[in-house]
Amino acid sequence: MKIFDYGDNQIGSREVSTTVSSIMIGIGILTLPSLLAKHIQASDGWVSILAAGLIAGACGLVVCRLLRRFQGGTFHSFTARITTRPIAMLISAIYGVYFLLYVAFEVRSIARISRMYLLENTPTAFIAIAFLLVVVYGVSGTTAAVIRLNTMFLPIVLLISVVVLLFGIQLTNVDNLKPFMTTRPFELVSGTKDATFALLGFEVLLFYAPLLKPAVRTEKAMLIGIAIPVVLCLLTYLYSIAIFTQAATAQILFPTVEIAKEVRLPGQFFERLESIFFTVWIMTIFNTSCMAMEASVSCLQAIASKLDKRWCLLILCPVAYFLNMLPETMMQYKMLGSVISTIGYGTAAAIPIILLAVARLRGGGSVG
């Protein structure tokens, strides 16, 4: 049956913002406070988060500039046009591997946290595979549907965050935030490095280029999309320092979930809010994984252009599962995280900047 539509499948500026926010809010924000607390005194980490946010914003603008030059094509056809075909293949491969690792890391984290807070007795493998299959189901639909899912889940996620933060006010102790500005600048820089990990992912917009409405002001939407997770990171960081103190925060694996654990809702219907909080958080992690998986599929299709989306998923799903089961110890899990963030600098910052520079120099595909 021929499908017709009213053009609702295109992405407007509101969808750009929700997409960017949805992929950025994920696992990173759950661990961020403890990463920062490890080497930053008191509450000085806000400087690092803000700095990371500014860097992300700048890179986001670069991505937007790049998007303008696509002229309705895909990321892959664009890179092939301004560089050469082999280089474009290489770039697609880098993004593909990066996003696949990203998925694997998210799945692994879900399994870890679920075992900590929800399912004590279920084996990690089952938790991981159930989640991965749901992600595959999500990706196997249309791309427009993935975007719609962002719009559907982000409000719920923000709502539960607001609830937790609102009822957490009574737990905070402002004295824990003092003394201000005692960390050495070098430490703040390394804190910025930690914070950027929580703010990766906005480059995924590159892969949604063909769906963008022509008239959309991407820059503004991108900045709004980045601002939401930055504010959320800032608030959770300050909360966890104010509630647990810096020393304790450094020892907690997922301080953001622990905040929810401390919060008591009036009415006392749910004893442990953290289960609800994390359950809702699964939705945004799903969004993140879904978009990363979709980007990965798109990269694979760029390399092997004959492959159908479903076949790509069939190939990538076991690979993602294998990657997710690789880290055995906590150390290896953290290493996977740092590997991803290192590649992330390349995919979110270096490659877009270089591509933009090359495009400028060659004048290829410039608009107006």
Binding site: D8, L119, R148, T151, E271, R272
Partner: protein, 483 residues
């Protein structure tokens, strides 16, 4: 019409009246309910009159048609009735006779006059059974096509109201009308509806359910993508929103399309009463839908996996009440929910006078006795009761029924993974909804894709003065309903 696929020229009437009579009789297999009478008029012309007994108005034929024929002294009698057309195609004449019209053939004339005499016994307009309201009109659609179109026409005296009528079904030749308001409806939507309707090729169009299933975008979805309603006020309100209606003969359920998820939470009553109350009731319906779908799953998850999530007193009392229950809560929940569904089904089938028995059997025997016998816990009975009440409070029966089905799937996932399973099931449900389309409109509109202007009539039912525009998501031609 769908019967033009053969290259054979259609059979025509002949000049010979005798031959025509024999032909029609033979075509209808000498049917016993076919009335054929011959009359000679004053001017000496022989007429033959055909109709089906029971489908035509006898007084009309007797008093007006026959008297005019016999009394006429012209060559071709004038017929004093409103609806007359002529045809020389045998098939067309046959269909007309079979649908209750009367065919008048005359000597030496290869053309029949078809007189509209449709009249049969039909149910009078009654209150809709499945969509009762406290405040609102009490008339509902009936099985009669004309009555139904009239009910819509009575509400919209707009000259732009259109009924495009077809006959569908190779053998049933059911009257089907596509209803819309010209100047409001989006042309693309209308074209798509026409295109899909013309693909229908079945023997019998048995009610609107057939058409609904044929037109629907995704056959694999449990959700209704087209709404069926018994209420003319609902249909006419939908037409003014730029939707398209399909009125089908022989059924009181008429169709409205396209449909989105949220419209199943709306009831015409929302517009008949104060907006504050309507909004509150809508919020309640969303809560009810959530409970009807997830409540038993939460019970399973909380008792099997997350004992710590409940306040300790409640956890203790649940554990205490489950003491002596031999089954895990999954089995308990499945047994009770299945019983509830059985009760519901049995309640529909039972003749009305003994229908109350079901209440006694259900309430006393299943509820009370099962608890006494220690097969289920009292908490489980409460859970089942709440789910049942919640699912009855939804305005759309077809939608509630799909939630009933989903409830069992979500219970399975809760039994496997607890709360984690529930959220995965919830995500999958959302993935499905995000992928679902109804005639090109995503099922989750106006929430995602977002049409903020339409949120005035989504969960909130804004005061009528503020509802000045038609739904943006329908891309109507006429955007405003007020100045």
């Amino acid at each position: 019409m769908s019967d033009t696929q053969s290259a054979v020229p259609p059979a025509m009437l002949t000049m010979d009246l005798r031959e025509n009579i024999a032909l029609i009789r033979a075509k209808l297999g000498n049917a016993s309910d076919l009335l054929v009478s011959e009359h000679r008029s004053k001017s000496g012309i022989l007429y033959a009159v055909f109709c089906i007994d029971g489908l035509s108005s006898r007084p009309l034929i007797q008093e007006h048609l026959l008297e005019a024929l016999i009394g006429s002294d012209a060559d071709n009698a004038q017929l004093p009735v409103q609806e007359v057309r002529t045809s020389d195609l045998l098939d067309e004449v046959l269909i007309a006779i079979l649908s209750g019209d009367t065919a008048v053939l005359s000597e030496d004339f290869a053309c029949a006059r078809i007189v509209g005499t449709k009249f049969w016994n039909s149910r009078s307009v009654e209150e809709p059974q499945t969509e009762a309201l406290i405040r609102g009109p009490r008339d509902g659609f009936t099985e009669d096509f004309r009555t139904n179109t009239a009910l819509v026409r009575r509400r919209l005296r707009d000259p732009n109201l259109r009924f495009e009528t077809f006959q569908l079904g190779r053998r049933s030749r059911t009257d089907v009308a596509v209803v819309y308001v010209e100047g409001i409806v989006n042309d693309k939507l209308l074209q798509e509806v026409r295109r899909r309707i013309h693909t229908i090729d079945v023997d019998e169009v048995a009610g609107s359910g057939f058409i609904e299933q044929w037109l629907t975008d995704n056959q694999l979805s449990p959700f209704p993508q087209i709404m069926s309603t018994e209420r003319p006020d609902k249909l006419s309100a939908a037409l003014l929103q730029g939707k398209v209606g399909i009125v089908v003969d022989n059924t009181p359920f008429q169709l409205i399309l396209p449909m989105t998820l949220f419209s199943f939470f709306h009831s015409p009553e929302d517009y008949y009463q104060n907006w504050i109350i309507s909004t509150a009731i809508r919020v309640m319906r969303f809560g009810a839908a959530f409970l009807a779908t997830f409540m038993p799953a939460f019970y399973i998850a909380l008792t099997e996996f997350h004992h710590g999530m409940l306040p300790s007193e409640l956890a203790f009392s649940i554990a205490g009440s489950r003491e002596g229950v031999p089954f895990p809560s999954v089995v308990e929940a499945f047994a009770m929910e299945a019983t509830l569904e059985l009760l519901r089904e049995a309640g529909i089938r039972l003749p009305r006078p003994i229908g109350q028995t079901i209440g006694i059997v259900g309430g006393l025997v299943i509820g009370e006795a099962a608890v006494r016998a220690g097969i289920v816990s009292p908490i489980m009975v409460i859970v089942v009761a709440i789910t049942a009440i919640s699912s009855f409070s939804l305005p759309s029966y077809t939608f509630a029924i799909s939630l009933r089905l989903l409830r069992f799937l979500i219970m399975v996932s809760a039994a496997l993974f607890g709360l984690y399973g529930i959220v995965l099931a919830y995500i999958m449900l959302n993935v499905h909804i995000a992928n679902l389309m109804s005639f090109g409109i995503p099922y989750s509109t106006p929430f995602a894709p977002t049409f903020l202007a339409d949120w005035k009539d989504l969960i909130l039912r804004a005061p009528l003065r503020l509802l000045s525009g038609r739904p943006k998501m329908m891309r109507t031609k006429d955007k405003n309903r007020m100045k």
